[in-house]
């Protein structure tokens, strides 16, 4: 019994293995660490991804493995390299992550968010756009916008996002350096003064859920102004961005009319953020097949998923392909799974799994589950 628990303990802390890197800061990652896993600090993980950001299956896996380990992969390194070498005084550059289902677009984005956090970016992160437009839980609340004619507000979703924003940018918001540029009047008695900190605006949105969508709109405007004034640098990450351009959402108005994405006030807000009319920022969006219904998943390429409108909105963007595992990455991952006892059995199994999973990271993980 003792020897068994000792063995387990050894496994849990097998940090000296060949598939791990001791380099825990994404800013320091380079080609040497490619294909190796690094572990996220649990507190930081909670701060960054506590309110979404990691896919559900990956989250389950982190629970099983009792750690959040992310593989350093080429697309993330490429993107970090691009962000580092881009001129921040130039208009913000749009990067589009694309790739087949389950190849790790969201994990790459998580890696980049960690990088942005390390580098002191103000993070504007939408974990999954379809959560707003395509998922219909029972408590989904939808009201006609009081301020903008013909628009639809999603106040609860907006407030939840503000909490996410607040949690991700705790340190930056606490310092109160970021001030808002103009006065916002919400109602007769409620207003946010000019020069009050950004956190006040966020707090208002969280406490007064009714105004959450308008608060986000104001917040985005303020962030753009602050970035332009070089008071902060901003990192925008939107997962499942192509949902904004799919012709229909699953939302219905009380009169049973279908709502298009353009009629949702959050859409206009985030489309405003992803234009390149502001500087001192980087915009990473992902085009994901899973964000649209099955009938429209014919191809994983961005032009198809974003439609003409989305392509023209983002153009010129840098396409970043997130592909399947390379040989090196696959072996490293298999070793990691063996270390976590997720994969057991004879070593020949890896060749077979490589074939059956076609080096698709998600499928590999799934196929290892019963082994």
């Amino acid at each position: 019994m003792l020897s068994r628990s000792w063995r387990h303990l050894c496994r849990r802390y097998s940090q000296a293995a060949t598939f791990r890197t001791a380099e825990l800061s994404p800013a320091q990652h380079n080609e040497k660490q490619e294909g190796l896993f690094y572990t996220l600090n649990p507190d930081l993980c909670k701060q960054l991804f506590g309110h979404g950001g990691l896919p559900k299956s990956f989250k389950q896996q982190t629970k099983t493995f009792t750690e959040t380990a992310i593989m350093v992969r080429q697309p993330a390194l490429d993107l970090i390299n691009c962000i580092r070498s881009s001129d921040m005084s130039q208009p913000a550059i749009r990067y589009v992550l694309y790739g087949e289902k389950g190849t790790g677009k969201s994990i790459t984005m998580a890696h980049l968010l960690h990088y942005a956090h390390e580098e002191g970016f103000l993070i504007v992160h939408v974990p999954w756009v379809s959560e707003w437009l395509r998922r219909l839980p029972r408590h989904k609340e939808m009201v006609n916008s009081p301020t903008r004619e013909g628009f639809v507000d999603l106040p609860i979703d907006a407030a939840a996002w503000l909490i996410h924003f607040k949690s991700q940018n705790q340190t930056l918001l606490k310092s109160n350096d970021l001030k808002i540029s103009k006065e916002y009047v919400w109602s007769k008695r409620e207003k946010t003064e000019e020069g009050s900190p950004l956190s006040a605006l966020v707090e208002h949105g969280i406490t007064r859920v009714k105004y959450a969508c308008d608060v986000i709109d104001a917040l985005i405007d303020e962030i753009k102004i602050l970035s332009n004034n070089k008071q902060c640098k901003t990192f925008v990450a939107i997962d499942g961005f192509n949902s904004f351009f799919y012709p229909l959402t699953r939302l219905n108005t009380p009169t049973k009319r279908k709502v298009t994405p353009e009629e949702v006030s959050l859409t206009t807000t985030f489309l405003k953020l992803t234009t390149n009319d502001w500087t001192n920022g980087a915009i990473v969006v992902s085009a994901d097949q899973l964000a649209v219904p099955d009938a429209n998943q014919e191809s994983h390429f961005p032009r198809y998923l974003l439609y003409k409108k989305g392509f023209e909105h983002l153009d010129p963007f840098v396409p970043i392909k997130v592909g399947r595992y390379s040989d090196k990455e696959f072996l490293s991952c298999a070793e990691y799974y063996r270390d976590r006892l997720w994969l057991r059995g004879p070593p020949e199994m890896e060749t077979e799994l490589k074939f059956t999973s076609a080096c698709n990271p998600y499928r590999f993980m799934e196929q290892c589950a019963p082994l």
Partner: protein
Amino acid sequence: MSLFIRNYKLNSLAAGYNAKLWRLNSTTADSALKKNDEDEEEFRVLDILKKKDRIQRRIIRRTDMQPDRADRMAPNQNWGNVWPGPKTFHPSSVPLPLRQGYVPKGQAPPGKKANAELMKIPNFLHLTPPVIKSQCEAIKQYCTEWPSLLNSEEAIEKHYPVEIITSDYCHASPSIRNPLARIVTLRIKLSSLNLDKHSKDKFIRLVGDRYDKETDLVTITADRCPARAQNLDYVNYLLTACYHEAWNIEEWEKDKTEDDMEYYDWNNNASKKSLVNWHLRTKNELRTLTDEEYKSFDISVIEGGEEYKNAVSSLMNDGESDATLKKYGEAVRKVLGLPEKKVM
């Protein structure tokens, strides 16, 4: 008994007389009495079913039937005369030891006589190679020589660009007509038509899915008329009408917008606008331009602009693939001044 005693007393009477007396009692007993005269020792058998009478004698009829025709055929006969046309199998006409039919394993299939299986299947006994040869020889006198200049597929295609496809059907049923024979298909290479840029585009739009981009073939099929000749006229009419309509330029064709374009022209599209806007923004001289100014903006001032233009055009025109997208990514990186992707 009293009578017997009386007879007995009259001793002089003969036995025959005695018999006469018995007849008074039973007639059948009389015949039995006769038999008894011959073999009185045997028992008589009561034949209830009368088996002996029912047995029929097998009649062996001697006939003067001729041997089978198939057996009498000469091996050097002209088979074409024996079996001149398509007909159902007949065992006596075919001098072949044919067997056909399903039997349990180990047994031989039934022979050709009275074999329905052989009669069910169609046969080609009328189309033996010598028969075909002789028939071809016979119709050769009606044929003309193949034109010597049409010696290759290309030459045929050049001089006879229109291809008409019809089907003939052969029947052994009372009617020789088949409704499918009326269908006429016309095929022509689009490049063999005399069309310019506009009319070619219009022609393709008019024929719709009848044009195959990969083989460059236009296929028009007509089956709406009852006779083949009518359908043939109709496909010819359709081709002529589409051709001349393609050359017409209607008033409303001037309203063609960017969405109606058959190909992606980068200069007229939003992609150029966004590139120009980005360029002006980097130079801090953003101003609102009219559509005409956007179109005529010289992209050679933007570094890598030309390459970007080609990349977007190929992405839109050739469709998305890893290759076109990679080219696009490289072009964008060059324009935005980003480092190139490292190949590992």
